[in-house]
Amino acid sequence: MRLHKGGLEGRGLSWGIYALTRSSYIFYIYNIYSWEEYCDLSQKTLMSLNLSLAELELLTQLSEKKEMSKSAVLRQALRMMAVIEERINRGERLYFESLDKEKSEVVIL
């Protein structure tokens, strides 16, 4: 069953494996946790992260500006990136609009 934000049918993503075929990688997803468990922030996974000094400085700046922990900033950034990926995959385009209502497309490769 597919992971579905909003919890349709209530099954969540748990783990996955890559399998190498002749021409491509295939990613298998296995569902073990319920949606509630999947979303439960008390079940966080600790991971280490390698950042350059510049990246760390950027993260610190955002964390201070938004008065959020670095973890919360990274979680939000991850969700935002996934939204952009999903909408680009749907064939939509991303624009910024200036105060003069001038639109410029953000080209995502």
Binding site: G10, A72, V83
Partner: protein
């Protein structure tokens, strides 16, 4: 985070209701039961199609969809946008934006008097505030209100920013951190 809320039933009894991720059962009850009562009414949301709305946002990680359930019946529905909206009170900061929120038709005095349950809107809104704290947005919540709900948001001490011509001239309301803390203490 609290997911059980108290509602007051028509006979005065206080009952528990569960805040759950939106499921196909909730959408089915909307289709079969809510719609039949809402469509002939003059409610401002009588044209809202929650199934279609959910289909549009269900794969987007910034949206969260919830239902308030009591005695296996859907008593309220809510969509939250959690990542892209900025506060007007504190422009550098994010907030939880209540994209859609509705109580079941039989909980509205304009359709059924007395209503079946009271407290559905407060329960849903309290959850949005809790979600904002959890995301480290310090309880900030924003929304555009239908005219019939403006009084409710005023009682919650949300700040009224007036009509928004980018949003069908609906009034924009925002909850400050101070008021959010009071709501979390009172209802959370």
């Amino acid at each position: 985070m609290k997911t059980t809320f108290r509602l007051v039933r028509q006979d005065g009894l206080v009952v528990d209701a569960d805040l759950l991720p939106l499921s196909s059962d909730h959408l089915s009850q909307f289709e079969r039961i809510w719609k039949r009562m809402l469509q002939p009414s003059s409610e401002h949301d009588s044209h809202w199609d929650w199934v279609r709305k959910h289909r549009k946002v269900s794969n987007l990680p910034n949206y969260e969809a919830y239902a308030l359930e009591c005695d296996q019946m859907t008593e309220g529905l809510m969509f939250l946008e959690c990542d892209f909206h900025h506060s007007r009170l504190e422009p550098d900061k994010n907030l939880v934006y209540v994209d859609f929120i509705a109580t079941a038709p039989w909980n509205r005095p304009s359709i059924q008097a007395p209503p079946e349950y009271r407290g559905v809107g407060t329960a849903l809104f309290t959850f949005a505030v809790q979600r904002s704290f959890e995301l480290e947005y310090k309880g900030r919540v924003g929304l555009h209100s239908l005219p019939s709900a403006e009084k409710f948001y005023n009682t919650l001490k949300m700040i009224d920013f007036g009509s928004d011509d980018n949003y069908e001239n609906l009034k924009y309301f925002e909850l400050s951190t101070d008021e959010a803390m009071k709501i979390a203490e009172r209802f959370g």
